[in-house]
């Protein structure tokens, strides 16, 4: 199966790989798995007091599409409000990367990771 050029670009030059301080009060961590393929993704968001996402980092060791999906989603969420980030749909990611049907779960993983990170942040705040 051929990857689209956008997947290859993100795969060869992934954006925002790394981690943030898991214990910090302004960092939300999402750890999610894709049961369909067995890939795991960790995504962390640094959120300021105005609810704006200042930084985003991810780590995943799965296939090219999983790496590209998480790389893309970190670039999408930066500068967005938490509410705006919650609106990101996996279909936005899949369309941008031209993912084939068998790789849709990679974009689902990225969407779920953002939601899980925000949920973790909100739990810390409450």
């Amino acid at each position: 199966m051929a990857y689209s050029q956008k997947v290859i670009d993100h795969y060869e030059n992934p954006q925002n790989v790394g981690s943030l301080d898991k214990g910090a009060a302004d960092v939300g961590t999402g750890l999610v798995g894709a049961p369909a393929c067995g890939d795991v993704m960790k995504l962390q968001l640094k959120i300021n007091d105005d609810g704006i996402i200042e930084d985003a980092k991810f780590k995943t060791f799965g296939c090219g599409s999983a790496i590209a999906s998480s790389s893309l989603v970190t670039t999408m969420v930066k500068g967005k409000s938490v509410d705006e980030a919650m609106e990101i749909k996996n279909s936005d990611i899949a369309r941008e990367l031209a993912l084939p049907p068998v790789k849709i779960h990679c974009s689902v993983l990225a969407e779920d990771a953002v939601k899980a990170a925000i949920a973790d942040y909100r739990k810390k705040k409450s």
Partner: protein, 187 residues
């Protein structure tokens, strides 16, 4: 079941009375399609034998002189029989099919492991390059446990004890291990 053509009672893909092939049911159970008992412990030779027997009955060569509708049904049957064989041949897809009615997990949703397991999978997948031997050992240990658990579940189920709830989660665990193992192999 009644033959759509001669209205006599019919069993199996082809009417014994008039020789008409019957419409394949889109929701047909793959074990039914091949005339096999619904079991996880399935003899590979029995599967091949059943596959060849049904394939012969529905083979397009047998229907070349029949109406277009029957030729089309023959092709549909052939596709269904091939799929049934492919799904039931592999123990993992067979297990998934018995537990959920589908050969593979959905692209969205699906069973989620508990956070501790996911955390360990993340650790194993991230350590695969740095410590391939240790990761491989741990993967093998966890896989042996899962294989044993699956074996126990299906053995009990075949004896009429218990259901297959949660088997799809065990199969998902195997896929997380497979990703870790693939990363070790690539290291």
């Amino acid at each position: 079941m009644v033959c759509w053509k001669c209205h006599e009672g019919v069993q199996g893909p082809v009417c014994v009375g008039c020789g008409a092939i019957q419409p394949p049911r889109p929701d047909a159970d793959y074990f039914d399609v091949l005339g096999l008992e619904r079991r996880y412990h399935l003899d590979g030779r029995a599967l091949e034998k059943a596959f060849r027997a049904v394939s012969r009955k529905v083979h397009p060569d047998r229907f070349t002189k029949r109406a277009a509708v029957e030729r089309r049904m023959s092709l549909q049957w052939t596709a269904t029989v091939n799929t049934a064989r492919r799904v039931l041949k592999d123990p993992v897809t067979r297990a998934h099919y018995l537990a959920t009615g589908t050969a593979r997990p959905p692209e969205r949703g699906g069973p989620q492991p508990d956070p501790d397991f996911l955390e360990e999978m993340f650790e194993l997948q991230s350590e695969a390059r740095r410590a391939p031997e240790a990761v491989r050992d741990r993967v093998n240990t966890l896989r042996a446990d899962l294989d044993q658990a699956l074996e126990a579940r299906f053995t009990a189920w075949e004896a009429g004890e218990g259901d297959l709830d949660g088997v799809d989660l065990l199969l998902a665990h195997l896929r997380y291990l497979a990703t870790a193992e693939r990363l070790v192999d690539q290291s």
